[in-house]
């Protein structure tokens, strides 16, 4: 058998043993045709599935970590629902099994599939102890109706629960040797190193300093306790605080020098038993000096008290204020005040009209169409006022001159028609293109024709007609001003 030589030395496997219990589980097969017909089954399984318990050593000291393996050997069988092994381990503290490793291994020329479960344990009491047996439950699969003697005996479809059991093994936990045992030995076993630091290295009396002690190496960290410390001078020593990491345990301990006579941490020591060297070891660090200054505060307070008692001013603070200033409600801040927040709208509200006016000016400057529309509106307003005046004060020619002039200017600005191009046909064409409805266009044509007739003396115009023209113009302008072009 290819026995591994692992971690802590040569392994000590138990003898190969197979104890199994068969029970039909949920099968409808008749006994005569069942793949698990009991005839010859035990013999068939004996060399094809078995469990081994292996420990790395037969003798150990208390708290010494001992690697342990439980290995399941399988040859040409289908197993499922393989459980974690169970192990009787009275007198030992054992960790959980890790996830199993899958391997292939040859035993007596036969290659097996091996499922290997690993863990570590350590003895908690001295004496001779029986470890095991390891037990493992799994389910065996086999095909129905096959001959048990054939190589293809187990195929699929029928299940049997198997309870595999290894042999027991003996393990002796020896007491720690009395010879050479350090006084501060508290059961730590392994091979460790110790690192110590103090933060800060300079302090005032009364200030805390932190002593950080880091134990690292290999071994049982569950049994590593805080290193012992010896201090020189007046220190108040607080309980340490442990931080467990992988292969490292850190103890942080606060010390407070009470007076400036506190000088140093004389020694930090940690003792353990090294099972490989079979000897105790003590690591000592120190002395670690700490510069402790007298308490600053105390001195100043003493001086201050003396100066106050003696009436001497000494170093005085600035005097009190004679006025309470602006008393306000406690906890009230401007950023929480609704009034203040609303007030922030005021500049914005003042800014908006300026912005709109600025935008208007910019558009007047850069947008010819917009500017023309605005000019046309003003021109229409002014022209209507003028026409109203001429309607009562002047004759029909002046009135229609004014109407024509206003319309020409209005249409030119509103629809960007050059004055040289201002004919009735052209105006009608542009207005149609701009989507002005036919009724309005007809009204405009009528007004312009009336203007031509009166201005060039072909016709007279009475007051009623002028009034009608004025109404038509108002209606048309109203329509055009409302129409979004």
């Amino acid at each position: 058998m290819n026995t591994d030589q692992w971690r802590a030395g040569i392994a000590h496997p138990t003898k190969v043993i197979l104890l199994f219990f068969l029970a039909a589980v949920g099968t409808s097969a008749s006994p005569s045709t069942s793949a698990f017909a009991s005839d010859g089954l035990e013999e068939t399984l004996r060399n094809r599935v078995f469990l081994m318990l292996e420990i790395a050593k037969k003798e150990a000291y208390p708290n010494e970590m001992i690697p342990l393996k439980v290995r399941l050997f399988v040859k040409d069988l289908s197993l499922k629902e393989v459980q974690q092994p169970r192990l009787s381990h009275e007198g030992f503290s054992m960790q959980e099994f890790e996830n199993p490793l899958e391997k292939k291994e040859t035993v007596n020329g036969v290659t097996f599939d091996v499922l290997e479960f690993q863990t570590t344990l350590f003895g908690t009491k001295t004496g001779k102890w029986t470890l095991g047996p390891a037990e493992l439950q799994c389910t065996l699969l086999a095909r129905e109706g096959r001959s048990p003697s054939s190589d293809d005996y187990f195929g699929a479809y029928e299940t049997r629960s198997l309870n595999l059991r290894s042999e027991e093994t003996l393990l002796t936990v020896k007491p720690f040797p009395k010879k050479g045992r350090p006084a501060d030995f508290r059961g730590a076993v392994g091979n460790f190193d110790l690192a110590v630091e103090v933060l800060p290295e300079e302090a005032e009396a009364g200030d805390p300093v932190l002593l950080r002690m880091s134990v690292q190496g290999r071994g049982n960290f569950d049994t590593v306790t805080s290193p012992g410390i010896v201090v020189e001078g007046d220190f108040k020593v607080y309980e340490p605080h442990a931080i467990q990491k992988k292969n490292q345990k850190i103890y942080e301990q606060v010390l407070r020098p009470l007076k400036d006579t506190a000088r140093a941490i004389s020694m930090v020591s940690f003792s353990f038993y090294d099972p490989e060297k079979k000897a105790y070891r003590t690591i000592r660090k120190g002395p670690i000096p700490i510069k402790v200054a007298p308490p600053h505060r105390e001195e100043i307070q003493k001086n201050a008290s003396m100066s106050l008692l003696s009436g001497e001013p000494g170093r005085e603070i600035a005097t009190v204020k004679g006025s309470p200033g602006r008393l306000k409600r406690k906890g009230v801040y401007l950023y929480k005040e609704r009034g203040f927040l609303l007030l922030q709208l005021l500049p914005l509200l003042l800014w908006i009209p300026f912005f709109l006016f600025h935008r208007h000016q910019e558009k007047m400057r850069t947008d010819a169409r917009y500017a023309g529309q605005r000019r046309a509106s003003r021109r229409a307003e002014k022209g209507l006022r003028e026409m109203n005046r001429l309607f009562t004060e002047a004759g029909s020619v002046e009135f229609y001159d004014s109407v024509y002039g206003m319309l020409k200017g209005y249409l030119g600005d509103r629809f960007q028609i050059p004055s040289g191009d201002m004919t009735a046909e052209r105006v009608d064409e542009v207005l149609m293109a701009e989507g002005v409805n036919e009724e309005v266009r007809e009204t405009l044509k009528e007004i312009l024709e009336r203007c031509d007739l009166v201005r060039y003396g072909a016709s007279e115009s009475g007051e009623a007609e002028r009034a009608k023209t004025l109404e038509l113009i108002k209606g048309m302008l109203h329509h055009l001003e409302r129409q979004r072009l």
Binding site: R297, K321, L327, G339, F340, L343, L346
Partner: protein, 257 residues
């Protein structure tokens, strides 16, 4: 504004009313508050610092506060030798009013008498921004932001109508925007710390790993040390020192600024 904007007129009117209400709301003008303050001054002049402090506390208990009130109370505690409480009240004064020379001098001096806080572990940019605006209070920062915002709007108007302003508009815009952003960060930081900063008022206090008396000590918090309160649990407060060390301390040993 003309006749065409009645709603705008109403809103502006309302805002102006609010402004005057805020500006004129000064309960300190009430005689009672002044009398208590005056009484406290008399006690202080006679060296009766306990009585003076009681008068200031009485005024605070009535729900009022002001920079000079906290400052004077800080002075009383200083004279009594309670440096932690003195620093606490100077800190409170700094929150309420822009610190003047007296306040800064007394604060710095008192801080120098106690052991300083450990080296802060905050981000450099946050420290720089806070230092930039340490001359002003929370309200001062709010007013500064409001002023910059108004100024930005005014400058934008000026840039539309005044040729010279148009030339320098972009420079003003950049400078004011940078100041605005930094002041906003500082104000936000201060607001986020409201009610979360505390001063150690006991002579020394053990900060422990867990919130119970027998828990191992982690560090010693000294009087006057400023800490951040992370959470509360019964009689214990979880605090963070400026070097980011965290521990549990009895609530009675600290007072929130």
């Amino acid at each position: 504004m003309g006749q065409g904007y009645p709603l705008l007129k109403k809103i502006v009117g309302l805002l102006l009313l609010l402004f005057f209400q805020i500006a004129c709301s000064n309960p300190g003008r009430t005689g009672e508050g002044r009398d208590i303050f005056r009484q406290a001054l008399l006690f202080y002049e006679k060296g009766q610092f306990d009585e003076a402090a009681s008068q200031y506390v009485l005024l605070l208990d009535q729900g009022f506060e002001s920079g000079p009130l906290y400052y004077n109370l800080g002075n009383c505690f200083f004279k009594k030798g309670a440096l932690g409480r003195a620093i606490l009240n100077y800190e409170r004064a700094k929150k309420v009013v822009p610190p003047d020379r007296d306040l800064l001098a007394n604060y710095e001096y008192t801080k120098s008498l106690v052991r300083g806080d450990p080296e802060p572990a905050r981000a450099w940019h946050q420290g720089s921004v806070d230092r930039l605006f340490q001359w002003t209070s929370v309200d001062g920062l709010a007013l500064l932001l409001s002023g910059i915002y108004t100024l930005l709007l005014l400058i934008s108007i000026a840039s539309w109508y005044i040729q010279a302003a148009r030339r320098y508009w972009i420079h003003f815009l950049i400078i004011l925007t940078v100041i605005f952003v930094l002041a906003s960060i500082s104000l936000h930081h201060r607001i986020s710390l409201q009610g979360k900063e505390a001063i150690i008022i006991a002579d020394t206090a053990e900060a422990k790993f867990q919130p119970f008396d027998r828990a191992p000590a982690h560090f010693i918090a000294r009087e006057g040390m400023k800490v951040k309160v992370l959470s509360l649990k019964e009689e214990w407060a979880k605090i963070e020192r400026s070097d980011k060390k965290v521990g549990w301390i009895r609530k009675s040993k600290i007072e929130v600024i």
